[in-house]
Each structure stands twice: as structure tokens, then as C-alpha cells.
């Protein structure tokens, strides 16, 4: 056999699959360098990262137990109550843990770079903010640092993959490389990625990015913790006041003498990058809080929808016939009730029930979104799924007796995944829009107050658009446009990277992206 002539060359191949660890042991330096920098980056923000991580864990926990509750609840309400109890205790444990993580020092926290304070005597150096800078500059400095940190961290994670590819991967080339390389020259897709990273940063590091916190400014502005110091020009002394009281005097309600616009200070020396709301709360902080809940709801919904769509697409493409027809009818049935109407209905019906209170109403919405978005995703990926199911390699796998589940996972899923990603990112835009539309409608729909929600801000500023308080409606909407555009750009980038010649004709994208909001 020819191999005998080739043994020397083949020796490393003949050995058992060497694990990544053993390959790292063979050539430790590139990995060590990467790990060292990563370690520093993580240590810098350990508290915030842990906090963010716990947030995600909590959202997942609530999502999973919530789903279990609903399912079990159909059979036995007492069991559901048990799950609810577990959910609450677990959530409170997690909250406790999160409180602990706040104790872990973080470099880019508001403690290290504070921005609130006052000018003793009304002019001159500031007391309180970092290095005596003006609050605006102190805040801007922290914001820029946080954003820069997030971008560097994301890049470094990507860099980790590059190190792996260059030094530790057995394959010199893989199809993924082409995708990544194409994305690296795809400016529009990169714009999408940057936007996504920015908004994820807002979700994770939101508390450090706002000029004040959601807790102090919005949720409990009348507790002792929420007292702020300011220089009272009338009395000429530094006084303290509840944030809530200060808010009361910092309303933006459309008249010239009662308006705190973007990039201005209010009477209490507080800087408002986006101005204030009609109730005097800080719009920027409100937006950061809204980002978190929006992203959590969207994440759960898209996760659920993608899971259902991907699984059903593979099953219906593999078996076809009546299974396909069954899924089609189910999908048509779900789609037949316009999604926004269904959401309004469910939201209204379940307002103020225990189910409607999980995640401030967000959980229920996420589930309904997930259960109603999959038909669109399914329709969009059914074409590619049918196509891949007809490839000869699927026949080949069948011909040697491979199990259907493995055929779907190994031979079909990798192809569908790209398309799922494309349509998921585009549908996510639709979800964000619909979610804020519900909050905009109010009346118990959408995310319940006082938890910040973007749509509610637009609603608050309705009617003030043509006056000095234009920012209340305008800025949140512009943020949504930016995020949705970013998601679409991301989807476009992935599409161009995986399949430059694919057409965009099919219906999935159309309805998914518009969302009806």
C-alpha cells in the first residue's frame, strides 16, 4: 500500500487526534500572550462583567422556568406555583450574588470616575466629579472609556479565534475562514457589528454609562441613597435634595422655561446628555435602562423563534410530504392573526397577572414573540433547507445508514445556520420595533412602568415634537432606527459573506424586518 512510502510524512497524522491542549503545550507562547492580555482586560472590569453575566443567567433562568411554568400550569397549577417559588428564590439568590459583585472593584465604575457634584460658590472647580472636571466631561470620559473597553474586549475575543486559527488549528483553511475574511472587508457588515456591540455594551454596562443610575433617578428617587448635593444659588450654600424632587424641577414639557434639552445642565448641576423627560428624569439613563430590557426580551424571543424555526425547517425538509404540510398549516394559522394584534391582545389580557409581571411584562412578550416569529423564519429557511436536503451528500449519508437526527445536525444544520442568523438578525429588528410599539401604546401593554422602555419615551414626548422638548420623542426613535439598521447591516454582512449570490426575494425578510410596528 502506498502509505508505507509515506509513513514519515504521515506520522503526526497517524497519532491519535491530539487535543487542543496538547497542541498548546507544544507551542505555548501565542496562547499565553493572548491569555495574559485577556486576563488583564477581565480583571479591569471583573465586577461589571460578573454582574452582566449574572444578568444574562438570570434572564435565562427566568425564561426557562417561565416556560416550564406555563407548560406545567396547563396540567397542574400547584406544580406551577412550585416552579414559580423556585424561580423567585433562585432569582433572589442571583440578585444577592449580583449585589456582591458590585463590591468587586471595577476600573470604569462611577465610583472611580464619578460625574456628579457641585461647584462650591456657583463657579470654579467642581467638587465631586473626577479630577474636578465639569460633570459633562467626567461623564463623557467614563462613557468613552467604557465603549472603548467594550470594543477592545470584543476585538480581543475575535483575536483569540485568530490565534487559534493560526497556531492551533489542524486545518490550514476552513470555509469559515472565507466567511470571516469576507466580513473583514465588508464595511457595511462591520458597521452592523459595531452597532450591535455598542448596544450590547449599553445592556451590560448601562449602569456605568449613564450620568446617573436607573435606581437613583427612576426607580426609587425618594430614598436616602438618592439624595444629591447641589449648590443652591439663592441660599449660597451646598444643599441636599432627593433626586425625585430635583426631577420635579427639571421637567421638559415643551415650554421654553420648563425644558432641559440635550447636552445641558439642570438647576441642580446635573448633566443631561439627552435632556430630560416630561417627568424630569434623565433621558440618557432611561435609554440605557431601556436597552437592557429590550435586548433581554429580543434575545429570548429570537432564541426561541430560531430554535423552533430551525428544528421545524429541518424536519419538514427532511421528511417532506404530510409533515411539511402540517407545519405549513400551523405556520399559516399562526401568521393569520397579525402579530401586533396578537401581542396587544395577549398583553392586554394578561396585564397585572403573575405571568404578565415576570421581567416587567417582558417575559410574556418574549414568549409570544418567539411563538409568532418562527413561521417567518421557518418560511425563510425552508427553501435553503429543502435545497440542502436534496444535496447528494445527504443521500450519501442515507445510503450508509446514518441516523436522520445526525444527518440533520451534521449535514443540514451548518447550512441553515447561516440563513437563520441572517433572518434572525433582521427579525430581531422587527421585534425591537414591535416591542417599543407596545410600550408606546401604553395602557398596560408593553413593558410596565416605571421600568424604562424606549417606546414609552416616544409616547411621553408625543405632541412636543415641534417645540423645544423635541428630544424626548426624537432621540429614542433615532436610537431604535440606529439599532435596527445595525441589525439589518449585520444580516446583510453575513449574507454577503456566506452566500454572495443568494437572492433576497423571499417573504421571510419582508415581514420579519418591518414587524408592523
Amino acid at each position: 500500500m502506498a502509505s508505507s512510502t509515506n509513513t514519515q510524512n504521515a506520522e503526526p497524522l497517524r497519532r491519535d487526534d491530539s487535543t487542543v491542549l496538547s497542541r498548546i503545550a507544544d507551542n505555548p507562547w501565542p496562547a499565553a500572550r493572548w491569555v495574559a492580555v485577556m486576563g488583564v482586560l477581565v480583571l479591569l472590569e471583573l465586577g461589571a462583567l460578573l454582574g452582566g453575566f449574572l444578568n444574562v443567567v438570570e434572564a435565562l433562568l427566568i425564561a426557562v422556568t417561565g416556560l416550564a411554568e406555563v407548560t406545567v400550569g396547563l396540567v397542574s397549577s400547584s406544580l406551577a406555583a412550585g416552579i414559580l417559588g423556585f424561580q423567585q428564590s433562585a432569582a433572589s439568590t442571583l440578585s444577592g450574588l449580583r449585589a456582591d459583585t458590585e463590591g468587586i472593584p471595577t476600573l470604569l465604575s462611577r465610583d472611580v470616575i464619578p460625574n456628579q457634584g457641585y461647584q462650591p460658590g456657583g463657579t470654579g472647580a467642581w467638587e465631586g466629579p473626577f479630577l474636578g472636571l465639569e460633570p459633562a466631561y467626567a461623564w463623557a470620559l467614563r462613557l468613552v472609556l467604557v465603549l472603548a473597553y467594550a470594543l477592545v474586549l470584543s476585538y480581543w475575543l475575535f483575536r483569540g479565534w485568530l490565534v487559534f486559527r493560526e497556531h492551533y488549528r489542524q486545518m490550514e483553511w476552513s470555509p469559515t475562514d472565507d466567511v470571516v475574511d469576507k466580513l473583514r472587508t465588508h464595511r457595511w457588515g462591520q458597521f452592523g457589528i459595531v452597532i450591535l456591540v455598542l448596544f450590547l455594551t449599553m445592556g451590560l454596562f448601562g449602569p456605568a454609562m449613564g450620568p446617573t443610575t436607573v435606581e437613583q433617578n427612576i426607580l426609587s428617587p425618594y430614598t436616602e441613597d438618592s439624595r444629591i448635593e447641589y449648590y443652591n444659588a439663592e441660599s449660597g450654600s451646598v444643599e441636599t435634595v432627593f433626586a425625585g424632587e430635583a426631577n420635579f424641577n427639571a421637567k421638559s414639557i415643551g415650554s421654553q422655561d420648563s425644558n432641559v434639552g440635550p447636552m445641558t445642565y439642570d438647576d441642580y448641576g446635573r448633566f443631561h446628555p439627552f435632556g430630560t423627560l416630561t417627568n424630569g428624569r434623565d433621558l440618557f439613563t432611561f435609554m440605557m435602562g431601556g436597552a437592557r430590557i429590550s435586548l433581554i426580551v429580543t434575545g429570548i424571543a429570537i432564541g426561541l423563534g430560531t430554535l423552533l424555526a430551525g428544528g421545524l425547517a429541518m424536519v419538514s425538509a427532511f421528511y417532506r410530504g404530510s409533515i411539511d404540510l402540517g407545519v405549513l398549516t400551523l405556520a399559516d394559522g399562526i401568521v393569520s392573526v397579525p402579530r401586533l394584534l396578537l401581542l396587544i391582545m395577549v398583553s392586554a389580557v394578561f396585564a397585572n397577572t403573575w405571568l404578565g409581571n415576570i421581567l416587567d411584562g417582558g417575559f410574556l412578550l418574549a414568549v409570544v414573540f418567539g411563538l409568532t416569529i418562527w413561521p417567518f423564519l421557518w418560511r425563510a429557511v425552508r427553501g435553503p433547507a429543502l435545497q440542502v436536503a436534496q444535496e447528494a451528500w445527504v443521500d450519501a449519508a442515507k445510503s450508509f445508514g446514518q441516523q436522520p437526527s445526525i444527518i440533520m445536525r451534521k449535514h443540514m444544520f451548518p447550512y441553515i445556520m447561516g440563513y437563520l442568523l441572517i433572518y434572525a438578525s433582521m427579525s430581531a429588528g422587527g421585534i425591537i420595533i414591535s416591542l417599543s410599539a407596545l410600550s408606546f401604546l401604553g395602557n398596560g401593554l408593553g413593558i410596565s412602568p416605571p421600568t424604562p422602555a424606549w417606546g414609552r419615551a416616544v409616547s411621553l414626548g408625543q405632541g412636543l415634537v415641534s417645540g423645544p422638548s423635541w428630544h424626548i420623542s426624537f432621540i429614542p426613535g433615532a436610537m431604535i432606527v440606529l439599532l435596527v439598521t445595525g441589525m439589518n447591516a449585520f444580516g446583510d454582512g453575513i449574507r454577503d459573506a456566506i452566500d454572495p449570490e443568494s437572492d433576497t426575494g423571499e417573504g421571510g425578510e419582508t415581514t420579519a424586518a418591518g414587524g408592523g410596528g
Binding site: 398549516t329 396587544i344 435596527v484 447591516a489 433576497t504 419582508t510 418591518g514
Partner: protein, 371 residues
């Protein structure tokens, strides 16, 4: 397969779809934690009143025993399928739901018609234009505009547009156009709660309040000129907003469809025949590019129904979307059920139309494929 047999089969397949949609709605409304009696009468109503109302609403029997769910289901569904919508509980108490819906329908139809038109007239030409000049500056402007346009939430666009149209806004001139500042009939209003009479008059050949069957509404009569202008002016901003997402989609899909067609082998063959570029684009590219646009255009109806709730609310248009919102908040279950039923019917109808249209514009699509 024969077209009529196909149609029958397609309708047969639509039945489970309709039933599914209605059943889900029924379960949410009747099995969910909704208590219409309390909601209608308030928390501190006398128990006897509540009880009487519940009997009237069909939740409990006169003897106090609850009506079984399946019985409620049967009652509700059979009434719906016979187009018997019953009377309103709360929105306009004891008025027939059919007449309420009929009275609100003109505004929504008018809005829907123009939002489809706006999207078609602006979106498709822009998309074709961008596709024909792919990768030029004008392409980037057009398709970039389409992308952003599509990303704008309807409600936000509506708020901003309504804001800039009010006194002191950037586009306040629109209020006075075309009659000048003082002529009342031309003034554009955001504050109206009722449909302007001009819009009602558009449809004046049909008596709107006698409970004519809904489908009769589709025979839209010929309007008179000035009313038409006023009504158009009144609806244009809302239609622009409602058509926005579809317009963005059409730009985008139109562009890729043109690009795909222009790079095809048959266009090359057409060149080899010695055809002029103009002829190739108009004849050979145009019709092929229309095929992928069909689902987008049909998809507009879907976006329309959901979007009408928001847009009608912001622009205070007294149409079906607004009615649905009020009905679900109150809650007025017969109105909600009836509206959902109508929307589902429209949806199914649009889907079947789309399948049939496919066979018309694309001769390759056979009737078997689409089943």
C-alpha cells in the same frame, strides 16, 4: 391540475388556518384571566349586576352554573362563521358590531389604499433605478435610504411627522395647503376623533349604518373631486408612514431582483439578438424582476393591519385599528373577535390571491407547486 379544482383545494387548506387563528384568539380571550363584567361595571359594582351581566355575556347560565368552555366556543365560532357578530359590550353598548365595523371601515380602507399606492409608486421605481445603476452613488443613496426608511418604527415616524405638521412644526405649511390659512375645509386636523365628513362622503352611495354585509364595502363608489382632494390630503401623512416599511422592502427587493435578472443568461441572449438596452430592460428585465416583488406587495397587507393600530392612534383616524385598540382595552370581546375574524379572512384571501397571481405572472409556476 384544473384551476377551479386547485382553487377548491386551496380554500379547503385555508379552513384549518382560519379555525386555528380564531381558536387561539378565543382561548386567549375566554380562557385567559379576563373578567369583562368587572371591567365593564367597575370593581365596586353590585354583585347582582355583575351576575346579570355575566349571564347576558354568556359566561354563566341563569342558574349560576358556569357555561362550559366548549359550549362557549361552539357558540362564538358558529356565530362568527355565519357572520353574526352580535352586539358590542362596551365600545358602543348594544350597537351591532357589524354596523360599528362598517362605520369605521372607510377610513381604514382609504388609509390602506393610499399606503399601498405610496409604497408602490415610490418604492418599486426607486428599487429598479438603484438596481440598474448598481454600485453607483445614486444606488447607494437610494438603497441606503431604503434601509433606513425600513428601520424607522411606524409609530415614531408618525409622531415625528404629526409633530412637524402641527403649528410651529417644520412642515406646518401642509396644514394650509392648498387653500390658504383660513379656509377651514382644507385645514388638516390631528385632533379629530371622528372621520371627517369628506371621507365619509367619499363612500356616500352606500348607507353606512344599516348593517350592510361587510363585503359590499369592496364595491367602492366613485367619489367627487374636491372631497377626494381633501380626503387625500387628510390621509397622505398617515399613508406615508404606514407605507414606509413596505416602501423600504420594495426598494431593496426591487434592486436585487433587477440585478439578478440583468445578469441572467436570457438577457445575454437578448443582447445577442441585437436588442437595444432599453428594450431589454423594459421587456426582459422588468417582468422577471416583478416576480420576487409579488410577495412583498402582498406582504403589505399584513403590515398594514398591524400598523394601522399605531398609525390610526397617532393620527387620530377613526378606523378599524383604533377600534381594535379601544375594544381590547375596555375589553369588548365581540368587537375583538369580529375584527380578528375579519383580519384573518383578509389574510387568507390575500394569500390565495398571491398564489393565483403567481401563476399569472410567472408561467413556470404550476398550480401544483403552490399547494
Amino acid at each position: 391540475m384544473n384551476r377551479s379544482i386547485y382553487l377548491l383545494k386551496r380554500i379547503a387548506l385555508a379552513l384549518p388556518v382560519i379555525l386555528f387563528g380564531l381558536t387561539v384568539t378565543f382561548l386567549i380571550l375566554y380562557r385567559g384571566p379576563l373578567d369583562p363584567a368587572n371591567a365593564i361595571l367597575g370593581q365596586d359594582a353590585a354583585p347582582s349586576d355583575v351576575r346579570r351581566l355575566r349571564v347576558a355575556l354568556g359566561y354563566i347560565n341563569p342558574d349560576g352554573s358556569p357555561v362550559p368552555l366548549w359550549q362557549q366556543y361552539y357558540g362564538v365560532m358558529s356565530d362568527l362563521l355565519l357572520f353574526d357578530f352580535g352586539n358590542s359590550w362596551a365600545v358602543q353598548r348594544n350597537v351591532s358590531v357589524a354596523s360599528i365595523i362598517v362605520s369605521r371601515m372607510p377610513a381604514t380602507l382609504w388609509l390602506g389604499f393610499w399606503s399601498v399606492m405610496v409604497a408602490l409608486v415610490v418604492g418599486i421605481p426607486t428599487g429598479f433605478f438603484a438596481g440598474l445603476r448598481a454600485n453607483s452613488l445614486s444606488d447607494y443613496v437610494a438603497s441606503g435610504g431604503g434601509i433606513v426608511w425600513r428601520a424607522m418604527p411606524n409609530f415614531w415616524l408618525a409622531v415625528i411627522l404629526a409633530g412637524s405638521l402641527t403649528a410651529g412644526g417644520l412642515m406646518s405649511w401642509y396644514r394650509h395647503f392648498p387653500c390658504g390659512p383660513n379656509e377651514n375645509p382644507c385645514a388638516w386636523r390631528t385632533d379629530v376623533v371622528t372621520t371627517p365628513s369628506e371621507v365619509s362622503n367619499l363612500f356616500s352611495t352606500i348607507d353606512l349604518f344599516t348593517g350592510v354585509p361587510v363585503l359590499e364595502m369592496l364595491f367602492i363608489p366613485v367619489p367627487n373631486g374636491f372631497n377626494l382632494l381633501i380626503a387625500f390630503k387628510w390621509i397622505l401623512p398617515a399613508a406615508l408612514v404606514l407605507g414606509s416599511a413596505s416602501m423600504g422592502n420594495e426598494i431593496r427587493i426591487g434592486r436585487t431582483a433587477v440585478l439578478e435578472s440583468i445578469n441572467s443568461k436570457y438577457v445575454e441572449t437578448a443582447k445577442a439578438k441585437g436588442l437595444s438596452p432599453r428594450r431589454i430592460i423594459v421587456k426582459h428585465v422588468g417582468r422577471n424582476a416583478a416576480i420576487p416583488l409579488l410577495p412583498v406587495i402582498m406582504g403589505e397587507f399584513y403590515l398594514l393591519i398591524g400598523g394601522s393600530v399605531l398609525v390610526e392612534k397617532v393620527f387620530s383616524i377613526n378606523g378599524l385599528g383604533n377600534l381594535f385598540f379601544r375594544a381590547i382595552i375596555v375589553p369588548d370581546i365581540p368587537v375583538v373577535m369580529a375584527l380578528v375574524f375579519i383580519f384573518v379572512l383578509i389574510n387568507v384571501f390575500v394569500n390565495i390571491t398571491q398564489d393565483l397571481l403567481y401563476t399569472v405572472i410567472d408561467p413556470r409556476v404550476t398550480l401544483e407547486d403552490t399547494g
